[in-house]
């Protein structure tokens, strides 16, 4: 598809966003309008906004590519995202969050926690955590989106960053949460359409649901058979007397040399190839027999626990820890305490809206995450066809999982799907980003400045201060995107998810469900969750099972301070949430039980909204 048509479609899309932002601006008159969309959001708009904020481009392209490597075991995350992220979040947390939030007149997630525990510190500290870490997370989304625009519309990366910031600035700063939610809903519809088409084409082209799954299940066997066919040719060039494992190791080493050569200039290339004649022979071999690379790749990941695309990895292996603790538990559970999502429950006027939002949210997440985690693994079946390369997806993508889904779409879907998928991805990124910017802005204005610094209940210029906060959030996110290396930003995103779960979840659950939880218990849990999470990510955890822990690497020169297994567990592969969340939960319970109960009047007041469903008394 030509860039001109893509650009025309993108312009139409931007015009629609700006129009919705303007509509929201016309309907925004008060703080509640700006912060909570007037507490009058339509259930469809609320559910779609929740869903599209939940799903960013990385959930589709990044995690879809990861699923092409890990396989369909990732479907556990789909299940958790629907069951925990939608059903439990809406039915169990949504009702209480909305009732308590309305009753204590909270406008932001930190404000809800601060008022429940009658603590300015909790509100300001939580706002501060959001203020420091969310711009890093937001810049990861912004960079992903700008990189996509760079390749699809052929617009310079820096210019893409500026354009995105300006467009979002227009509708988030002026339109507030109404602007964010209106545009989110439009974006959700585009995302839904794009992903359903993708699923239909994928299953259609691969012969239907069961045949395509069966082909994926049979793939490791097929890879082995094809390798056996090429084995006589391999044996001709491999050193004599090697067993299969040794031969595959030798091939892997030669393929690594070939990868290295690609990064060299021409003069060095010739010199290197002359010194490594075997690399040249292997290069010629894999041109004729690409299936050899498949066998080498699958053998490599099998050592890390991979057993096939439709089988769960071997327990206790690197693949198992990454899939189970980071992806499934970290993302699946972490979503419950995301401030930009929890605040959505306070935007509707009654439980009926939340009830009606549940099916919309469930179907939406299935169509997003489910499709990405089905199509990612199935892309292997497609690329294994001789006419599409005869190699598995990760080989086709040169080892970079981020390009698997775009490659698959370019190769397997008709040309007209290009602009549709571009809109799907732009929508996914922008809907997440706009909500992040809104939450950062409200944290600056409402939680940190008004409550933390001024200590006032309601500033007369609250909307203006928050607009300024959102504006500053956009500028900060833009600067971070330009200045900081992408590695640090990726680590910060993981930190943010871990922090939200470990620092906020026990306090959030206690705030809504446990009257005995005290201010001291909440503060201790917040600090313990933050501290343990931060320490774990900085000194112990190798994010994605391989990246060095940031401070352990820079201060001590080691990838982790816990390289060896303890009690048979490789702790450096375990996600921070698995350690920090139990610690912060235990701290919350123990400190609450050891400290004096909060004033019964205050606790009664906080729970009054939930008890009656219709509060009667102000304070």
């Amino acid at each position: 598809m030509s860039p001109t048509i893509m650009a025309a479609v993108a312009l139409l899309y931007v015009a629609a966003l700006v129009y919705l932002g303007f509509r929201a601006y016309k309907n925004t008159h008060s703080t509640t309008d700006y912060l909570l969309a007037g507490r009058n959001a339509h259930p469809f708009v609320m559910a779609l906004s929740y869903g599209s904020t939940f799903i960013s481009t990385s959930a589709i392209v990044g995690f879809g590519g990861v699923a092409a490597i890990f396989g369909m075991g990732m479907m556990w995350l789909t299940f958790l995202n629907i069951f925990v992220g939608i059903f439990i979040a809406f039915v169990v947390f949504g009702r209480r969050t909305r009732l308590m939030g309305h009753h204590v007149q909270a406008h932001t997630f930190p404000e809800l926690l601060g008022r429940r525990f009658d603590s300015r510190f909790i509100q300001a500290f939580s706002g501060g955590v959001i203020l420091i870490f969310m711009p890093l997370y937001a810049s990861a989304v912004l960079i992903g989106c700008a990189r996509y625009i760079e390749t699809s519309l052929q617009i310079d990366f820096q210019l893409s960053l500026i354009l995105l910031s300006v467009v979002m600035g227009l509708y988030v700063v002026v339109g507030g949460l109404k602007g964010v939610m209106y545009t989110d809903a439009l974006q959700a519809v585009l995302m839904f359409g794009g992903m359903v088409i993708l699923l239909a084409f994928t299953y259609g082209k691969l012969g239907g649901i069961i045949p395509s799954h069966q082909a994926l299940t049979d793939l490791p066997k097929r890879i082995d058979q094809e390798y056996q066919q090429a084995l006589p040719e391999v044996q001709k060039i491999a050193p004599a007397g090697m067993g299969e494992a040794e031969t595959l190791g030798w091939l892997q080493a030669r393929l690594d040399e070939l990868k290295l050569v690609k990064t060299m200039d021409d003069s060095k290339k010739a010199e290197f190839m002359a010194a490594h004649p075997d690399a040249g022979k292997v290069g010629a071999l894999v041109k004729q027999y690409p299936q050899v690379v498949n066998k080498v790749a699958v053998t490599g990941v099998a050592k890390a626990g991979f057993r096939g695309w439709t089988r769960f990895p071997t327990p206790g292996t690197n693949f198992f820890y990454v899939l189970f603790t980071s992806i499934i538990m970290g993302v699946g559970i972490g979503v419950l305490a995301q401030p930009q999502l929890a605040v959505r429950f306070m935007t509707v006027k009654s439980q009926r809206e939340i009830n009606r939002a549940v099916p919309v949210g469930g179907i939406f997440i299935l169509a997003m995450i489910g499709v990405a985690y089905i199509c990612g693994p199935l892309s292997n079946v497609w690329f294994m066809m001789k006419e599409h390369g005869g190699v598995i997806s990760v080989v086709k993508a040169g080892g970079n999982p981020d390009v698997i889904i775009p490659l698959f779409i370019n190769d397997a879907l008709p040309a007209w799907f290009g602009p549709v998928f571009m809109l799907t991805l732009l929508s996914a990124a922008m809907s997440t980003l706009s909500s992040q910017l809104h939450v950062i802005g409200t944290s600056v204005g409402r939680d940190v400045y008004e409550k933390g610094i001024l200590g006032v209940k309601e500033h007369p210029r609250a909307v203006l201060i928050t607009r300024l906060g959102v504006f500053l959030a956009i500028i900060a996110t833009f600067i971070i995107s330009v200045v900081l290396p992408e590695g640090i930003i990726a680590a910060a995103t993981a930190i943010f998810f871990g922090l939200c779960a470990a620092a906020f979840l026990p306090m959030y659950v206690g705030a809504l469900f446990w009257k005995r939880m005290t201010k001291a218990g909440a503060v201790a849990s917040l600090l313990a969750g933050f501290g343990v999470s931060f320490f774990w990510l900085m000194f112990i955890q190798n994010v994605k099972g391989k990246l060095p822990a940031l401070l352990a690497n820079s201060l001590l020169g080691v990838p982790t301070i816990l390289p060896d297994p303890i009690f048979g567990i490789h702790w450096n592969w375990v996600e921070a949430i698995m350690v920090a969340l139990p610690v912060s939960t235990a701290v919350a319970i123990i400190v609450s039980l050891l400290t004096k109960q909060e004033s019964p009047d205050h606790v009664r007041w906080c729970f009054e909204g939930i008890r009656k469903g219709a509060p009667t008394r102000s304070r």
Partner: protein, 56 residues
């Protein structure tokens, strides 16, 4: 099951579909429940907001 051999994988596939069905069933049963009359406090809140808006 569904062309997938491993119980731990096909069960996740089925659970994803079943949890979506659960969401749909919940929505269908609860569609008209949970409507509330705006509370005194909400009304008072809206009044204060209007006043504030006018002042701004």
């Amino acid at each position: 099951m569904l062309g997938i051999d491993d119980f731990w994988v096909w069960s996740a596939y089925l659970l994803s579909l079943l949890s979506t069905l659960l969401c749909i069933a919940y929505g269908a049963v609860m569609w008209n429940r949970g409507d509330e009359v705006p509370s005194n406090e909400t009304a008072q809140w809206a009044e204060e907001e209007d006043k504030l808006g006018k002042e701004l």
